[in-house]
């Protein structure tokens, strides 16, 4: 980098688009401003009092000028508006094949959880050339996830997940800033993003991992006794969770909601807020018992539960694309083997007491030694 840069490096797919608007606007607005300033200076000089005398003639104003300088800016503004909106859509519309990484912001640090089990503090390792979706929540106040070189930015809010995605294009180290004021050490809430070539990333992934997020989630699922009601078959007191993620759920008040991360989160922490049709509001609230980290594990586990083909009538869920488009790192292997779990098998012992329709399908992914490319 030179000593006096005017632009941050372009290190994501979206960076080019955003820089293009920026440069276009700098040119457009710069020239407009220059034209007006020059006009003002010329007029102020030409019609200076010492040159034109103490009195100015009344000038009859051509009325059409007003319409021109009202409508011309309008059309120019609309052009910028549509361009900006188009880029915004791209910046926030997540590609189907994105890899999920969980982030938790807290005063004054960033915690990251990869579904394969790696967790990091203030460092985030991501591969180049693959879309990454950040699923982010805050443990305390509002933070904001901002990587200038990627031109992405999203507030991280307590009580709900927010999402942002990016695809790094250049390997390197980048700053991750918290850009929403969050208290004393706001300005020290700076992380480092390591964008790595795919091979390096694989090497990094295979280093020292305890257990995948789904494995941790499975343990919690049992230790918190979720399993006693969500037995996994339709006779349980709680709805079947296998295959739930990404589907549309009918609630007892007749509304329909999409079972996304925020729905799962709310249903765990504040279960009576949205009760599934046909079930009693008997589930205890886990607010205060499950912190953000555990929540990530649980949600990763629930997302990984696959709907069994044998039992399609259970619940109201209809599988949709999103449910399967939520891959862990073994994405390419997924489509070939839906519903079964031959790839890893580390989760086959799931609910010891119940017949397992809730067999998690994609769990083994990044545990050491699992098949990876």
């Amino acid at each position: 980098m030179n000593d006096f840069p005017l632009f941050p490096r372009q290190a994501s797919t979206i960076a080019v688009d955003i820089d293009r608007i920026y440069i276009a606007l700098v040119l457009l607005c710069g020239l407009t401003a220059l034209a007006i300033v020059v006009t003002i200076i010329v007029l102020a000089f030409k019609y200076r009092r010492s040159a034109v005398g103490a009195y100015s003639p009344e000038v009859s104003a051509p009325f059409w000028l007003e319409y021109i300088w009202t409508t011309v800016p309008f059309f120019i503004f609309m052009g910028i508006f549509f361009w900006g909106a188009w880029v915004y859509f791209r910046a926030y519309r997540v590609p189907e094949d994105a890899t999920d990484v969980y982030a938790v912001g807290k005063q004054w640090m960033w915690k990251f959880q990869h579904e394969g089990g790696q967790s990091e503090i203030n460092d985030l390792h991501v591969p180049v050339g693959r879309p990454i979706r950040m699923i982010m929540a805050s443990e305390d106040v509002i933070h904001s996830f901002f990587i200038p070189e990627f031109r992405i930015h999203r507030d991280v809010i307590p009580s709900r997940y927010s999402f942002v995605w990016f695809q790094a294009t250049k390997a390197g180290k980048y700053h991750l800033f918290c850009s929403q004021y969050c208290g004393t050490d706001h300005s020290k809430m700076i992380g480092t993003v390591y964008a790595m070539e795919p091979e390096d990333y694989q090497n990094w992934l295979s280093g020292g991992v305890k257990g995948s997020a789904t494995e941790e989630g499975e343990k919690l699922f049992q230790s918190l006794a979720c399993i006693t009601c969500h037995t996994g078959d339709s006779s349980g007191r709680g709805p079947v969770l296998a295959g739930l993620f990404g589907t549309t759920v009918m609630l007892s008040d007749g509304q329909r909601v999409k079972a996304d991360e925020n729905y799962l989160r709310e249903s765990i922490l504040n279960s009576t807020a949205k009760v599934v049709a046909g079930f009693q509001p008997i589930m205890p609230n886990f607010q205060g018992q499950v912190d953000e980290q555990k929540l990530i594990y649980l949600i990763a586990y629930i997302k990984a539960m696959k709907a069994p083909d044998l039992n399609p009538g259970a619940g109201q869920q209809t599988p949709t694309g999103r449910g399967s488009a939520n891959p862990l790192v073994t994405v390419p292997k997924e489509p070939g083997q839906p519903g079964t779990n031959s790839a890893g098998g580390s989760m086959t012992t799931v609910p010891a007491a119940s017949p397992p329709p809730a067999t998690p399908a994609r769990t083994s992914t990044a545990s050491p030694g699992s098949p990876q490319e």
Binding site: L25, L43, R49, Y181
Partner: protein, 551 residues
């Protein structure tokens, strides 16, 4: 002589008859000031109060800039820095910018400009000032006894749960001072409707009055929402009722919606009066009627109206849906149009004028430059995709300082210099005035222009320490702030000096048009010896022999 706007000026001050007791000489006791119901004296009370607050807010700003000379946070502690930017914002917004032009120049001039003896409710006017003082008292208490660190935006749940500072006194301060601005707005609206002199039709009103009217509407309609929001914040913080804090079942984004529903229109409370001042100054120093008078007048109302519909552009990265983001982006572009119309009309006014670059005009032209940059960079922020990158960075800081400091404060100084002879009866030294205007212009650009670049590079706002690659631009900015400080300090000295030593101004030193220039300087307590009857259009020159028909 057919142009009588000038003739009074031809009489040397020494030969002029005593203009009767001016409002300044009408009582010299402390009580005659503190219990006055004269809008002009109340304007002076405000002027003194907000000048003090401006210096206090400026002190905090300067300490911040000093801290940012080096990347390490080595001058102040993090907590102190956080308190300083919070108090800088709170004081400048609530105790300086919002009352600045309306409560001083507006208070002083609105009745004069429409030919009235006073505002419609003189007692309420005095009450507004006392409310301001009570609010400011709470604010000063907070400043003296440890400060507050929430940021002027009070975002929840930080402000309701996590901040360990004087949140409640400072929110009470803003709550109370809000009533001051509601009452001022009410007073101005009623005055404009009911107290215009005979013949002063709506389209004969000076544009300053139009902009005051638009501002007053916003003050009355938006400020109560702030009051409600702050009250809810206080309730949540004290009684732990879940409104905004998710841990209690509240919604933190709700706070942002409610806060910006006031605070975005508040930006227009700050800039609209400035636009009114600029219209007056440009008309006076070009000796011309403002080009497109009706368009300029209605654009004020359009800004006031559209200003209510753009608040959620502050939440574009907070997780609002992409569709509502689109709507708010669209509306934000729309609100830029009436502002553009004003700039074009001001520029066109210069055409075939008789232009002199006296101090107020220099400030006004500086305003045009700043407002251009501030307005155009607003387009950057309204463009959704681009906002994703520059949101909450120094780009935003630079943008709104160009509007609120470059724009509103330049206009305030333009107006102060323009009407100073009317207010004080004295002329300030022109050389020093021009010098101050130019120093301010240079200092301001040097302070804030580098911040656009800093923002695009990604320096987040409210950072006490920063990564070393941002240092060069920060040093430039701090250097500029030093120059800017000199520019702002100069008028304090020469204006005060002029009170005693300045040349007697006479009725109309600029040969401007407007009822306020038809009465003596400083005006008598009753403003006009006889009620004026208006028979001419706004800014109309080459007036008939008899200006004011004796009513």
């Amino acid at each position: 002589m057919t142009t009588t706007t000038v003739h009074d000026n031809l009489i040397p001050p020494s030969e002029r008859a005593e203009p009767g007791p001016s409002y300044l000489s009408d009582g010299h006791t402390v009580a005659s000031w503190l219990l006055t119901k004269d809008h002009k004296r109340i304007a002076i009370l405000y002027l003194v109060s907000i000048t003090f607050m401006f210096m206090l807010g400026g002190f905090f700003a300067f300490m911040m800039r000093l801290e940012l000379l080096t990347p390490q946070g080595d001058l102040l502690t993090s907590d102190t820095y956080n308190k300083f930017f919070t108090m800088h914002g709170l004081i400048m917004v609530f105790f300086f910018l919002i009352p600045s032009i309306p409560a001083t120049l507006g208070n002083f001039l609105l009745p004069l400009m429409i030919g009235a003896k006073d505002l419609a409710f003189p007692r309420i006017n005095l009450l507004s000032w006392y409310l301001y003082i009570i609010g400011a008292g709470f604010g000063l208490f907070v400043v003296l006894f440890g400060g507050v660190d929430t940021g002027w935006t009070f975002y929840t749940p930080f402000s309701t749960q996590y901040s360990n500072t004087w949140v409640i006194p400072i929110t009470l301060a803003a709550f109370i001072v809000g009533f001051s601005s509601i009452l001022t707005g009410l007073n101005f609206v009623v005055t404009t409707h009911k107290m215009r002199a005979p013949g002063m039709t709506w389209f004969r009103l000076p544009l300053f009055v139009w902009s005051m009217y638009a501002t007053s509407l916003v003050m009355m309609l938006a400020t109560p929402v702030l009051g409600i929001t702050l009250m809810l914040l206080i309730i949540e913080r004290t009684l732990r009722v879940g409104i905004f804090d998710p841990a209690l079942g509240g919604d933190p984004i709700l706070f942002q919606h409610m806060f910006w529903f006031y605070s975005h229109p508040a930006v227009y409370i700050m800039i609209l009066p400035g636009m009114g001042v600029i219209s007056e100054v440009i008309a006076a120093f070009s000796r011309k009627r403002i080009y497109g008078y009706r368009f300029v007048a209605f654009s004020s109302l359009a800004i006031a109206f559209l200003g209510f519909l753009v608040w959620a552009h502050h939440l574009l990265v907070a997780g609002i849906s992409i569709y509502s983001a689109m709507i708010f982006s669209f509306l934000s572009f729309l609100v830029a149009i009436p502002s553009a119309v004003k700039v074009f009309n001001w520029t066109a006014t210069l055409y075939r004028g008789s232009i002199s670059l006296d101090t107020p005009m220099l400030y006004a032209l500086g305003f045009l430059g700043f407002f251009l940059v501030g307005g155009l960079t607003g387009l950057f922020l309204a463009a959704l995709g681009l906002d994703v990158h520059v949101h909450d960075t120094y780009f935003v800081i630079a943008h709104f300082h160009y509007i609120m400091v470059g724009g509103a404060v330049m206009a305030y100084f333009a107006g102060l210099h323009f009407w100073w002879p009317k207010i004080s009866g004295r002329l300030y030294p022109e050389f020093w005035g021009r010098l101050a205007a130019m120093v301010t212009f240079v200092g301001f650009n040097l302070t804030f222009f580098p911040q656009f670049v800093l923002g695009y590079l990604g320096m987040p706002r409210r950072y006490h320490a920063y990564v070393p690659e941002f240092q060069v631009l920060n040093v430039m900015s701090t250097a500029g702030a030093t120059v800017l400080g000199v520019g702002y300090a100069l008028p304090l000295f020469y204006l005060l000096w002029s009170l005693k030593y300045g040349k007697i101004a006479g009725k109309n030193p600029w040969e401007a048009v407007g009822l306020e220039w038809e009465t003596s300087s400083p005006p008598p307590t009753q403003n006009f010896t006889e009620t004026p009857v208006v028979t001419w259009e706004a800014y109309q020159r080459n007036l008939p022999e008899v200006l004011i028909e004796r009513g």
